[in-house]
Amino acid sequence: MLKEFAPKLKLSTEAATVEGLLDDLESRYPRLRFRLRDETGRVRPFVRVFVNGEEIGDLAGLATPLGASDSIDILHSIQGG
């Protein structure tokens, strides 16, 4: 679904935290800005960010630190009806 706003689906980053990663993504793809996070900086309700398979809500949220070999997935949870 993110292809509408960010055509490249896999990329590398040197960001030190999840927040830094989102800043980096938004900088590369300005249309993504406010689509993953709202104007307060909060991740939108149906966006899920995973670090090595763990949801950041179970880690340190946007402050979750990132290492060189970490794998991050940004997904939308299912919303239907």
Binding site: D23, P30, R31, F34, R35, E39, T40, G41, R44
Partner: protein
């Protein structure tokens, strides 16, 4: 203003927006869309001051609020930034001191082009109840702080649809006079172009607060001005149908003769001064047992008249607050979009009705751009 004679009905639905086109006779319709498929399109507004300009308020469950602009009647759309979401090289600081916005946006609700003497102005009403103004056709927005930081705001409460600012009205005879409707804070009035605002609900009772006659806090669902006599204003509230004959200084309930005067919609038409249309519903179900009926109120004889002849439209039909609209032709055209996806139309001032042969998703809003009579 539409020069080529087409009548365009803009339909916002739960799963995208549509443009329904007909000619002046308004008998045959073609349906284009959806644009933004799958996304909630709460409202679409054509700008009568710029041929072909249309704006759309879109709310995506995944991506948040999105604003769109078209310059060709909705054939192509481009994104413009909602308030506080300007796309810059870096994520902008919400406030100069870095603090978060006071009222981050939940949903975009209503777009209203400004008066003719402010040709690039545009208003946007959002949830949580806030009004924004653009003076560059939506490229940038400023908070209308006289309303958004109003002294009564701490006591505003949301209705079932959220704390939404859903109505923006500009008096065509006195453009510095403006009104808004907020569920459930009531109506507010400005006489200085939107700098200062005051509650304008005198006489409108509420059933859900300890004080039945508060100065604000009414659950107003929709408001419409009489286009030719704009000191006359009609409102559909949670607690009844009211009229003001003095530019919202006082209100009188007129809906009591009806079986129910709960509902969401109201519409007026330039070709029908002294007339307003409502669609009463039952409050608990927000549908109407026995079928939906359009009622006409006429000021001349102060009477209600059911306008759907024979049986009302059968089925569990509801309407959202932007579901009824009128065009600018004579005889007036009326357009009713339902929560079950029917788009009913009348080309003779509601004396007879047809249905656009298309099954829409549940309809949030209907608006019209037509030639003037």
């Amino acid at each position: 203003m539409v020069k080529n004679g087409a009548v365009r009905v803009f339909v916002g639905t739960r799963k995208g927006g549509y443009v329904v086109e007909g000619d002046r006779r308004r008998t045959k319709w073609s349906v284009k869309g959806p644009f933004q498929p799958g996304r909630d399109v709460f409202h679409i507004a054509a700008d009568p001051r710029q041929e072909g300009a249309v704006y759309a308020a879109v709310n995506s469950g995944f991506f948040g609020p999105m604003l769109l602009r078209s310059t060709d009647w909705g054939s192509k759309w481009s994104e413009i930034p909602p308030p506080m979401m300007t796309v810059m090289a870096k994520r902008p600081k919400p406030n100069p001191d870095g603090t978060p916005p006071s009222h981050p946006i939940v949903n975009l609700w209503h777009l209203e082009p400004g008066p003719a003497n402010e040709p690039k102005s545009l208003y946007l009403g959002v949830d949580p109840a806030s009004l924004y103004r653009s003076d560059d056709r939506g490229n940038s927005w400023e908070s209308v702080t006289g309303l958004n930081e109003h002294e009564t705001r701490p006591k505003w409460n949301p209705g079932a649809g959220g704390l939404c600012l859903h109505t923006v009205l500009i008096d065509p005879s006195k453009p510095s006079r403006r009104y808004v409707g907020i569920s459930a804070a009531g109506t507010f009035k400005s006489d200085d172009g939107g700098e200062h605002w005051r509650p304008a609900n005198r006489g409108v009772k509420v059933s859900f607060l300890p004080d039945p006659d508060p100065p604000f806090g009414q659950c107003v669902h929709k408001v419409a001005l009489d286009p030719l006599r704009p000191e006359t204003v009609y409102r559909q509230d949670h607690d009844g149908i009211y009229i003001s004959r003095d530019a919202m200084e006082s209100w009188t309930r007129i809906g009591k003769p009806l079986d129910t005067d709960f509902g969401f919609v109201v519409a007026t038409a330039p070709a029908l001064p002294g007339t307003a249309f409502f669609v009463p519903l039952q409050g608990e179900s927000r549908t109407m047992k026995g079928g939906v009926q359009v009622y006409r109120w006429t000021e001349k004889d102060r009477k209600w008249t059911p306008m759907v002849k024979g049986q009302p439209w059968r089925g569990d039909i509801g309407t959202h607050r932007e579901g009824l609209a009128a065009d600018a032709l004579d005889p007036a055209g009326l357009y009713l979009g339902t929560t079950t996806g029917e788009l009913f139309f009348s080309n003779d001032a509601a004396k007879s009705w047809g249905q656009v042969p298309y099954h829409f998703p549940g309809i949030h809003s209907v608006s019209v751009a037509s030639p003037a009579a």
